[in-house]
Amino acid sequence: MHLLSERDADAVRARLAPLAGPVRLVFFTDGGGGIIVPGRECRSCGETQRLLEDVASCSELLTLEVHDRLRDSDAFARYGIDKIPGLALVGAADYGIRYYGMPAGYELRLMLELVLDVGRGDGELLPETRAALTGVAQDVHLQVLSTPT
């Protein structure tokens, strides 16, 4: 069953039309079959994966990779993923952009913007911001905490 309606899929295809380069959607999940701790089960992992499958089918430049927490813990460490559902958006390089949760509704629009930025390898910053960022010599970890709108 698709999570995106045909109309939504058309909108996603249109939004992704300007995608400039390949982007890997590297998805981290708990595929089931493991020990489930009450209160800690991943309620939206299955739906999120189906949504990402639908999104990935909307552009030839998008590919979806799925890593399971139990079978693929190395990949979790390699991408620095500490929560599920988790998504790494990887273009020509891994820019360290992650999305945790299910990008549905308005959040899907946000995720598509990130996909376009990652595919372009550029985030549309002011020239002075770009210049200032060249001086960043220490790790900075930003966590933008939000709720779906």
């Binding site: 949760g101 960022l133 001086g135 010599a137 900075v140 930003l142 933008v144």
Partner: protein, 67 residues
């Protein structure tokens, strides 16, 4: 900014999925942005102010973000 600077990484986190973070980071409104687990700012700020917070988190002088 994460694309422009190799040492910057950015997570977007849906709090409805990760309720424990609401308490952990004392979230009273969204969006709330946490920098290196010790600085924060609330809401959507103009780019120069976000930059100032990022530079502060990176150890540059400035007192733009809350602690």
């Amino acid at each position: 900014m994460a694309i422009a600077a190799p040492l910057i990484r950015a997570d977007i986190v849906d709090l409805t999925e990760f309720r424990d973070l609401v308490t952990r980071y004392a979230v009273q409104g969204v969006p709330k942005t946490i920098l290196n687990d010790r600085l924060y700012f609330d809401g959507v700020l103009p780019e120069p102010e976000v930059l100032a917070a990022v530079l502060q988190a990176a150890g540059h002088p400035g007192e733009e973000a809350g602690t």
